[in-house]
């Protein structure tokens, strides 16, 4: 019988985030009252963050397989085959709540955590991306949060030495009290040298590596799943501090011992640190684990077993080593100046046993900690359908040229250069397309092949219609990858939603997953890894439902990739895909008309695929000179972006007679691209598009230093660019 010094009261149980029935379930499982250490362990394993108890049932419906998928969800990160024996390992993860409390360290440790997930599997990180959602620019905290988060992401990634090549930044008042910081890491490994968490062999040493354990983030994992209260700031001392220097050493040391064949199983210590890493290694390998906490390298004196098991100190790993190579591995870690300690062993008991000071403080059935975690089919209601807003029903309050000038400098559409110039996006020497385009392109080794990377979601569409919004997020990622000429291969998702115990928010999650799944299936774009972040809300109101998508594509020859700047004067400007002038939930409707209304644009997945496949062929055949997909702000904004990136203007010859001008220019119909081709080729390309069933129109011609369309004065590109670039730096400097 285990000694129990601390009575487990209902209040203590509640403080650990366990519902009474969950606690009863646990007691039945172990046949007695738990110790405080055991309560800590189960609270970490059974919280939303680790157990996915609200989402698991629905996540199972997502497509995760394809011939090129080596490892789908369930490991530290997903793995896909990109040919020639190379594999890409990637995942996205949130650090929302920690970043709200301490933006620099929260974001930094978010980046650190996701990088660790990727190199734990044997990959060297070759790219990082992020997706950030902040509150209204007018909210008193927003500026501070933007500054801190961006500095934290840069501070960690730049020092670690990974190029941060892309991302997305939006603002909305529904994130005022709960920002989103989603970080994605992408690594390269040999397909036959991938490392997994599954332990094998009885009596093998379990080794602790990396930094020492402190009292950081105790209850961090629980915090990540608990709704934010107004007094959130008082929970501060649990903040974790990142040490990118230690992580860089850990990377080099891990890759070195992996290459020497020392590693049997490896798991990074992320949320719920030692607890979840040890349990996972044992459970996956059908083995028991015995830990002796007296051996754990600690940063502070007098740490209890409870604290050690729940500490979220960063830059730590757990490994099962080949006993014959233990010395060799230790020498590598010492060389890099890292801690190395054998803290336990694998057993054949299927028990998770934790000893401290010669006493057994936890003795739990290891498989059940994971397998028997609660799983809920929570009540959910679909979001009410919103009316379709006809283009004709939206009056233009200002002339179209003024609307464009305004939109290009709104928080969501303004240039994010101020952000990505703080990220080292060129280190490693393979960034073929830097931030600022549709997708980043990163060459693999010396080429010619490369990968295309993007992060996307349009949360206002998801709020209006979670299913359509989920589809759209996947479709937009697919389109961004296609727009650079790459073939979309797989994605990672990060589902950021409100309180799942509220049927309307649960309904958003369920709807978005349905939409995502449908799009993934239609586009052959499986999900190989992901993360769920629930309870994102402040004082009862959920954030906008935000299922972030991180997409990865492959291009056989990066020299053929397309980019969005216009390349020359006198080229034909084509629009591919159908323009119906959809203004519902458009940024035009929101930021020009002041209305957040209506159904979002429907996503026709067959059209997406047909149009995208055509555009990709056009790029790879070398005919397309510039390509940009259409998203927020529609055609006018896309043309403006292509012009601003090049300094070359364009003229639209004629406006359609059947649509209001503003619906034509700012409508957000999906599955569309702007493509330029040499004028002499235009006829041929239009014929080919028609033959492929892709709607195509020649809009006009590139040239001059302004954007022009009939009936309004030209819009100077230099002027547009000045406004587009100014907003964010001015905002951060407190000037706007």
């Amino acid at each position: 019988m285990l000694r129990n010094d601390i009575a487990i009261t209902p209040q203590l149980v509640a403080e650990h985030g366990l519902k009474p029935d969950e606690y009863e379930r646990f007691k039945t499982l172990i046949g007695r009252e738990p110790t405080i250490t055991e309560l800590g362990i189960v609270s970490a394993m059974w919280n939303e963050h680790c157990s996915y108890k609200s989402s698991r049932l629905h996540l199972k419906t997502l497509p995760t397989k394809a011939p090129w998928v080596i490892q789908g969800p369930g490991e530290n990160a997903g793995v896909i085959d990109i040919g020639d024996g190379d594999a890409i390992i990637f995942k996205m993860e949130s650090h929302n709540h920690p970043s709200f409390i301490e933006p620099y360290q929260g974001a930094a440790t978010g980046v650190g955590g996701i990088l660790r997930d990727v190199f734990t599997m044997g990959a060297r990180p070759i790219a990082a991306l992020n997706l950030l959602r902040f509150g209204s620019p007018d909210h008193p905290k927003t500026r501070h949060l933007v500054g801190g988060v961006v500095a934290g992401i840069g501070g960690y990634g730049n020092s670690f030495g990974v190029p941060t090549v892309g991302g997305s930044v939006n603002f909305h008042t529904r994130y005022d009290g709960n920002i989103l910081v989603n970080a994605m890491a992408v690594g390269l490994a040999r397909a036959d040298e991938i490392f997994y968490a599954k332990a094998t062999g009885v009596g093998r040493p379990i080794v602790y590596l990396g930094s020492k354990t402190g009292r950081d983030g105790i209850h961090g994992a629980t915090m990540a799943s608990a709704a934010f209260e107004a007094n959130a700031e008082e929970k501060r001392p649990t903040v974790q501090v990142g040490d990118p220097f230690a992580e860089k050493l850990l990377l080099e040391a891990c890759l070195e011992i992996m290459a020497k064949g020392c590693v049997i199983a490896i798991q990074d210590m992320g949320a719920a640190g030692l607890t979840s890493s040890a349990v996972e290694m044992g459970a996956k390998g059908n083995l028991g684990i015995e830990l002796d906490l007296d051996k754990v390298p600690c940063r502070e004196e007098g740490m209890t077993a409870y604290e050690m098991m729940l500490s979220e100190s960063q830059e730590r790993m757990l490994m099962v080593l080949d006993p014959d190579k233990e010395e060799e591995a230790e020498a590598v870690f010492r060389k890099w100046g890292l801690d190395f300690a054998v803290i336990g062993q694998t057993t054949d008991t299927l028990r998770f046993v934790v000893k401290h000071g010669g006493e057994v403080l936890a003795d739990l059935p290891i498989k059940e900690l994971g397998d028997e975690a609660p799983m809920y089919n929570r009540p959910h209601v679909p979001s009410p359908k919103l009316p379709v807003i006809a283009a004709e029903a939206v009056n233009a309050p200002i002339p179209a040229r003024e609307a464009l000038i305004k939109l290009i400098a709104t928080p969501d559409l303004a240039s994010k250069r101020w952000v990505w110039e703080q990220y080292d996006h060129i280190i490693q020497g393979n960034t073929v397309q830097t931030p600022g385009g549709d997708a980043a392109v990163v060459r693999i080794k010396d080429g010619p092949k490369g990968i295309a990377l993007t992060t996307d979601v349009t949360q206002r569409y998801c709020e209006a219609d979670p299913v359509e919004g989920g589809k759209q997020a996947v479709a937009e990622a697919w389109r961004n990858i296609t727009a650079v000429g790459a073939k979309p291969l797989a994605l990672t998702d990060n589902l950021n939603f409100g309180n799942p115990e509220r049927p309307e928010y649960m309904g958003q999650l369920v709807g978005a997953i349905a939409g995502i799944g449908e799009a993934c299936r239609a586009l052959d774009f499986p999900i190989v890894s992901g993360n769920v972040s629930l309870y994102n809300e402040t004082q009862g109101r959920g954030i906008l439902p935000t299922p972030s998508i991180g997409g990865v594509g492959l291009i056989a020859d990066v020299t053929k990739s397309a980019s969005l700047p216009f390349k020359a004067e006198g080229e034909a400007v084509l629009i591919l895909g159908e323009t119906a002038g959809w203004l519902g939930q458009s940024v035009y409707l929101r930021d020009v008309c002041g209305r957040e209304e209506g159904a979002p644009p429907p996503v026709d997945l067959a059209a997406e695929r047909r149009n995208g496949d055509f555009v990709r062929e056009l790029i790879l055949s070398g005919e397309a000179t510039a390509v940009h997909d259409l998203s927020d702000g529609g055609l006018a904004v896309a043309l403006a972006e292509m012009a601003m990136a090049s300094g070359i203007g364009a003229t639209i010859d004629a406006l359609p007679g059947n649509l209001p001008v503003h619906a034509f220019l700012f409508g957000e119909d999906q599955a569309r691209y702007v493509v330029t081709v040499p004028s002499a080729k235009a006829g041929e390309v239009i014929a080919a598009a028609a033959k492929a069933g892709v709607p195509v129109t020649r809009l006009g011609t590139t040239g001059g230093d302004a954007l022009r369309w009939p009936g309004e004065a030209p819009i100077s590109i230099a002027d547009l660019k000045g406004r587009h670039e100014a907003w964010l730096p001015d905002y951060m400097a407190g000037k706007v």
Partner: protein, 229 residues
């Protein structure tokens, strides 16, 4: 040409510079911060970019006092070539091989972007492949590149023609807007008195390839590699 790239804990552009040197035809080996000697026959020592020792305390401070630095100092004293890029420049200043210090960028932000430089002289081992006054387009990626020296030191550096590169705009003009970090006199790189040690903030090693930004960095490595051993 035999180049040795020194690896400190936290170096992260060691691979990038080795790649640039190899592509230029140099034979490249690496040296470990704790080694007492450089690889035999080293002609050029490279201190790469990165965040040595996390750049904690001051950038380059701890690395500047690493064991290998005695060997680097001896190599420099013999007239051997030393190139410090970014963190390497910071290390050279901290180790006393170059004068001055690199402080926080004036706007306190890390900055990664394309940057034009003027090549101030082309008669050193490092810049033979360029024209004097040539404007080259490279990139920068640093948070602490703000070169500062006391007035006498600065006057001496200028007087001796020891400024290697200056920040400028695309036309070669040295304007305040073109200076990304507040460096005195737009200094992007300086030489030692005997011109065999060069420290520079920008990253020529990341501009050796048309596909990845351009090739204006190549000249530096090509010039070095072409030197007879």
């Amino acid at each position: 040409m035999k180049a040795a790239v020194v690896v400190f804990p936290g170096s992260n552009r060691d691979g990038d510079v080795a790649r640039a040197l190899s592509a230029a035809g140099a034979s490249v080996s690496s040296a470990w911060h704790a080694d007492t000697d450089l690889p035999a026959g080293t002609d050029l020592v490279v201190l790469p970019g990165g965040f040595s020792y996390g750049d904690y305390l001051r950038c380059g401070a701890i690395a500047g006092r690493a064991v290998i630095m005695d060997a680097v100092r001896a190599h420099a004293a013999r007239g051997g070539l030393v190139l410090g890029i970014c963190n390497g420049f910071q290390i050279l200043c901290e180790s006393g091989l170059l004068p001055g210090v690199l402080m926080r960028n004036a706007d306190l932000h890390f900055v990664c972007r394309r940057q034009h430089l003027t090549v101030e002289r082309n008669d050193t081992a490092f810049t033979k492949a360029y024209r004097q006054g040539q404007v080259i387009d490279v990139c920068i990626a640093h948070g602490e590149g703000n070169y500062v020296a006391d007035p006498e030191t600065l006057a001496r550096i200028e007087g001796d023609g020891r400024v290697a590169f200056r920040y400028c705009d695309a036309t070669g003009a040295h304007t305040a807007e073109a200076n990304p970090n507040g460096s005195l006199n737009d200094i992007a790189g300086i030489y030692s008195e005997t011109l065999n040690v060069l420290g520079m903030m920008p990253h020529p090693e990341n501009l050796i390839d048309d596909l990845v930004g351009g090739t204006d960095g190549r000249g530096l490595f090509a010039g070095l590699a072409a030197l007879a051993a």
